[in-house]
Symmetry: C2
Subunit: 380 residues, 2 copies
Amino acid sequence: MATETPLLVETQYYNIPENIQLDSGKEFGPITVAYETYGSLNSRKSNAILILHALSGDAHCAGYHSPEDNKPGWWDMMVGPGKPIDSNKYFIISSNVLGGCKGTTGPSSINPETGNPYGLSFPIITINDMVKVQKKLLEHLEIPQLLTVVGGSMGGMQALQWMVSYPDSVYSCIPIAATSRLSAQSIAFNEVSRQAIISDPNYNNGDYYDGPYPEKGLAVARMIGHITYLSDESMHQKFGRRLQFQEELSYNFLTEFQVESYLHHQGQSFVRRFDANSLLYLSKAMDYFDLAAGANSLEKTFSRSNGHYLVVSFTSDWLFPTYQSWEITSALQKLRFPVTFTEIDSQYGHDAFLLEKEQLGALLANFLESTHQQFEEELS
Amino acid sequence: MATETPLLVETQYYNIPENIQLDSGKEFGPITVAYETYGSLNSRKSNAILILHALSGDAHCAGYHSPEDNKPGWWDMMVGPGKPIDSNKYFIISSNVLGGCKGTTGPSSINPETGNPYGLSFPIITINDMVKVQKKLLEHLEIPQLLTVVGGSMGGMQALQWMVSYPDSVYSCIPIAATSRLSAQSIAFNEVSRQAIISDPNYNNGDYYDGPYPEKGLAVARMIGHITYLSDESMHQKFGRRLQFQEELSYNFLTEFQVESYLHHQGQSFVRRFDANSLLYLSKAMDYFDLAAGANSLEKTFSRSNGHYLVVSFTSDWLFPTYQSWEITSALQKLRFPVTFTEIDSQYGHDAFLLEKEQLGALLANFLESTHQQFEEELS
């Protein structure tokens, strides 16, 4: 449903004029970045906020693309005029990640050297590579220092990476439902999802753009993912053991529990809107994410950074549980960095960052206001 | 590795002479039951214990099939001479479940009416149907009342069902890492596993016994299952983010983390030893399990039963978490039934019932000893 005065936005595209040096060692280009902006940059350039999306997100995080559009951006509850991340106060930038399939160059993009989609010839990318691309976009937008980088899940990983890779270009950081490194359990879930896709004969070694789509494998992968985004409690509340159509058990293999029907729907709708190869590349980038790896300690890694942190986790998130946010907070505290850690009581599991409007909204609005004030003071 | 005096056992087969009335309303037969026994029945028939296996188990729970056999039964750590479930003291029976693929009639068995494997023409079965078959076996063995029914996971569900279906035929019950009803989250994991199998083109609507095997789908299903059997903590301890072969990230999609390699191995070895249709039928039987369903309350359901209970859960089991064992215990306590509830501190997750030798062993041995004594007293 549209708000009373819908925010109308347009996705823009920036072609990075030079190649990017990837973490793998490869040079890669050309890269196009899809992005949107909301609000206006102030004269001191002190109010820029970069929003970083999770696995299945895109550049369109707020508002509508036309007056007839009935589906707002993925974080519209948080971003827009009068919202917690207020486009009346801040200049907000949101871009699709490298390797994605929503306008930024990824495996489904055309390789100009061959005239065909990259498929598996697309290079393996990392969270840090995504951040390098975002940095190029900000240089293009002539923003020397961001007020904040903020994101949930994979977006939170990018936010943390920003602090370490470009400490002078960002004043504060809000990782939500995030982690400083992917756990063995999360790598395991990602690998099973990839196997589900690769096992689909239509996957055809990633070269399926001209043929049938590996929709069954991708649907199974998304169903696995979706279970990890919810919680035992929220699934119990939402579905319990309720049946979908009938009152009695049917004694056949048709979908009968509501939770099964919900998962099927999630799987099917994902197939229509997401590229299977992108899921492979983005999940691999997450697997590779380990902020402490180079330095052998998270504290040492963060010592390169500076700035203010708001770390947020959710009680029922078992994919990136609170202890992982606490590891981040603890390392920052040892360095005596200004850090606020909040665990929000929520039954929604990992997806809570997309759902906990009131609690998360108040937290973000307050942190942004005080951080903006401090940033302004330091600039003067 | 064989113990010093290996227990040599042989799988036996019983052909139930009559059809079974299934919960679905169908009459089904003929049914063959694969079973093993260890130890001897005493003259008062007071020392019989029925062991109930989990999803991938079989009748062979203890000992070896030959002196050259180097793989003991699945619960050999718990069952055998001098073990916690001591075959020097007790007469122990273990059978393969209806719908399985290890000797008891299931979807891979030959339908005598067609001369071909049942496949999807096998009827949908329930946990209660499995128990009906076990009851026939015990009648054949002329055991009027069991000292104990004991099992972990799906085995624990059968144990609970025994108490409700045949209260006069069993004196005590040990459900381990079990639940009185499958949660929405568990149904969700089961459904995704089934979808992985059904999506494999080799599955061929369940009719694959003459053609290529749906091994990719079954491997993905098993990998999903395996993640749920472990815990975040045990995966971290066992694998962490360690790489399998090299020191550095390889920047390709080959298996590189140890946890990936482990899952692949689990998937592959399962494919060699388990029937895909059996996984579908057994997981569906678990989905249907809801002891309270008919009576609308667990307390009411258990009021039909009597006997002594030892309920065991494990701290890190997130598939059938402690709160589910507590729901069972709480209902029994309200009925003032003798019930002992123990939550064992373990990092092994759901699989702890197969691994926590010392703590679980002592608990079982003590409970069996005192319960046996009480049973003997009541008999005299």
